[in-house]
Symmetry: C2
């Protein structure tokens, strides 16, 4: 059983995961991070040691790598030969290159240090390179979340792609709308109930059935009026492309 | 004071508005609709008369026009000279062309007959062609919603444009993600907590500060991998355009 862990990184994922494990009773041994400021701050939050050297690691059951995707490979090279996992949606498990117990614990959520989150409801995708370690990781995952999925690297990468679309692109739509309304000093918060309801509708029915609006209705008059109303050329292009695709989707 | 109303139309807006008024104690006189089936069904729900003829209107304090934007003008021509409003986000108040008491009551929400909604929390944009009627409409709106805004046609049209972007485009992102995962038989519902959290984040901070993901980080490697993973050419184009715009937004 995994009773104590060390975390590499002190960013958004390291922070939320560290706190979730701490609250679930798993001991955090140390935070290992090149960033002295955020690393030390996180170690204080988690009541553990801070290691800035990537050397003299404390004895631990598992190292969790929470660094940028591009740095995972390089970090692995510096680690002693103990069980280790990364938390990336898009990085293949093969990145560990023959080490004994390796795996992935990918939380499917948009995590920002500053924004609180109830970790129990976050789906976690687990992968492991052997059956014994798989069981250990699932049991570890269950301590912080009620929703553990076992997926291979291929499936996880597609989940990550889909997550970018539903989360990053939706949020960018909110940004476009806010910037548009800001031009006319119209209060963006008027749209909050609509945004929340649109998201919540997917818990009741398939998004295909939830679509509304001028493009769904094939209302080209409104679409053209809206295009004329938009000042920003790039946003206009986005409005046009998305409307065109919705039109085609529902013409079928 | 407006004590009894008639509603023209029997679609999504007519249904939700009719029910909200009924529950608030406003008497619905009749449903006027060319669609016999849905019109009669709605009149039964609202416990009122059904009129399929656009003639012999029952005496009422207000007619609420809930038809497709393109049909509003034509419907107005058929109406007797009493107070009337439409419920369209994108139609100018000038459509009423000189009638005495005219206005708008635009609920900023995505409404589908089949999906229940708590009307009290829906923002409603009101407009009227004179001060006395304005007060009456605001008082009527207050019966069904806690969030009444008085906006002119110009402002309302921009709210409607922004509503399309935050709601219709976000939902289309959910569709793209679902269709993508369906190709690999991966469960879309895994993304539900992420979708809900992304929407809820705007209640805590500005969407500009909530953006995450590869495009925000300038991670072109992941973006290119995702583009290779997408089969549908149109969806790929959308991924590319949105990522490009997010990249530019955060490069500034």
């Amino acid at each position: 059983m995994i009773k104590k862990i060390s975390i590499i990184g002190s960013g958004n994922v390291a922070t939320h995961l560290g706190l979730a494990f701490k609250y679930s009773g798993v001991k955090i041994q140390e935070i290992i991070s090149r960033n002295k400021e955020s690393g030390f701050a996180l170690s204080k939050k988690l009541d553990c040691m801070f290691n800035n050297q990537f050397a003299n690691f404390l004895k631990t059951d598992l190292i969790i790598i929470c660094v940028k995707d591009d740095n995972i490979k390089e970090v692995i090279k510096k680690l002693p030969n103990i069980s280790m996992i990364h938390t990336s949606g898009s990085t293949d498990i093969s990145v560990f290159d023959g080490r004994k117990n390796t795996g992935v614990l990918y939380p499917v959520q948009t995590l920002k240090k500053e924004i609180k989150i109830e970790f129990k409801s976050i789906p976690i995708c687990i992968e492991a390179n052997n059956e014994v370690f798989k069981k250990k990781l699932i049991s570890l995952g269950n301590k912080i979340s009620n929703k553990i999925y076992y997926l291979n690297s291929f499936q996880r990468k597609h989940i990550h792609l889909a997550a970018v679309i539903v989360s990053n692109f939706s949020n960018f739509c909110y940004i476009i709308a806010k910037k548009h309304l800001d031009n006319y000093e119209i209060d963006f918060s008027l749209l909050i109930p609509l945004i929340i309801k649109t998201a919540n509708n997917i818990t009741e029915s398939d998004p295909i059935d939830n679509q509304t609006g001028p493009a769904k209705r094939g209302d080209n008059k409104i679409i053209n009026e809206h295009l004329k109303m938009m000042k920003n050329k790039n946003y206009k292009k986005i409005y046009q492309l998305l409307s065109q695709n919705i039109l085609e989707e529902y013409e079928k």
